[in-house]
Amino acid sequence: MAEVFADYKWAALFDDRGIFLEGLVTTLEVAVFALILALVLGVIFGIAGVFPKTWVRIINRIYVEFFQNTPLVIQAIFLYHALPHLHIMIPVTAIGILGVGIYSGAYMSEVFRSGINAVPRGQLESGLSQGFGYWQAMWHIVLPQARRTILPALGNQAIAIVKNTSVLAMIAGGDLMYVSDSWSGMNMYYGPAYLTTGIIYWVICFTMTKYVKRLEQKGAVG
């Protein structure tokens, strides 16, 4: 099957490198915004998961359980193919950000929830008795202490986000995986296309992995 990686196919890939670059830009764009969205949702729903009021905790459970227990592929396809029937036409890049962001937000909120739970309850209570409001005490006293356990786990989620953006390939999302599929579908030069795509994803994620490891070690020491 050496012909799968034939030289002329590599040459064609090099000629069309612009297409792959565009895909990479879309992937990075979606990943960055999805990460921001997931972090925001993670903090909000993470705190909701430990909130004193029961109904708030129930909302947290519904959010987390629904998005953790159904495939991202189904969620993305739903946003893309079904919502327009209700006259809600979200652009595909935004679907990537929303879809991946909301999906990962569920995981992040679990990270925050368990991180907060790991901080002794007395900390929050003493903050409250000092005259802090609930949110102030959360933000200034509990979350900083939870940082050490939360950060590495968040890092792993960030890596998962980059990998998950590839779901866009299934809904014509223009990301790296999609352009690789599309380009190689036209000419059947999938060997070089997938190898290159793999290396690009790998370099991005591996760099992030190394960074997360550093955070972990710092956390363990500091």
Partner: protein
């Protein structure tokens, strides 16, 4: 009419997909647990060569998207569709499983090894009687929550035309176009996944509590 969607032949059609999802899911769970444990243990014990290979394997696979592996395995190996799905999912998840195993083993205090060693136990015995029972507690619950991920990620095999649950759902989506019908199809498919995965995660939580007691 929404009821058109719930004709028995459509339900059977979806169930056929569920069967393939389950085949891929169960196959991948078994393979990735075995493969992941071998990798994780050899990393932890720093077995010469095998340990290094395992580390490199984990570093490579963990940083690739699942969809890419699904495509590459389907296109580069002559495995039939379901086996190709199992292979791709196992290759992918074994890396995560290995991390879980390695983490669980690393969490066991070093002193216990030394104590066992001074008692005259050999490597195998230490593993069998000291390490594994404890590691089991650290490892099994997070491993079980990976099962859910496998079931969910198996929906990527639809990208190579393997008609598992998501695929069967999509084929129905191509046939029906009324708003209500579409939502009924999406709802049904999502519900099946949810029931499957929620039961698995309940099981994982139950096991977690049982082991902590």
């Amino acid at each position: 009419m929404i009821s058109d969607v719930f004709q028995s032949y459509n339900i059977l059609f979806l169930l056929e997909g569920l069967k393939i999802t389950l085949e891929i899911g169960v196959g991948s769970i078994i393979c990735s647990v075995i493969f992941g444990t071998v990798l994780g243990v050899s990393c932890h014990l720093k077995i010469p060569v095998l340990g290094q290979i395992s580390t490199i394997y984990i570093d490579i696979i963990r940083n690739l998207p699942c969809l890419l592996l699904v495509l590459v395995v389907r296109f580069l190996t002559p495995l039939p569709p379901v086996w190709s799905g199992i292979a791709a999912m196992s290759i992918f998840t074994a890396a995560t499983m290995a991390e879980v195993v390695r983490g669980g083993l690393n969490a066991i205090p070093k002193g216990q090894y030394e104590a066992a060693h001074s008692q005259g136990m050999n490597h195998y015995q230490i593993m069998r009687y000291i390490v594994l029972p404890q590691a089991y507690r650290n490892i099994i619950p997070p491993m079980m929550s990976e099962f859910t991920t496998i079931i969910k990620d198996s929906s990527f095999v639809w990208a190579v035309g393997t008609e598992e649950l998501t695929g069967k759902g999509m084929i129905l989506i191509g046939k029906y176009s009324e708003t209500g019908q579409l939502f009924a199809i999406f709802g049904t498919v999502a519900l099946i996944y949810f029931i499957l995965n929620y039961s698995l995660s309940l099981l994982a939580r139950w096991e977690y509590r049982r082991l902590r007691v």
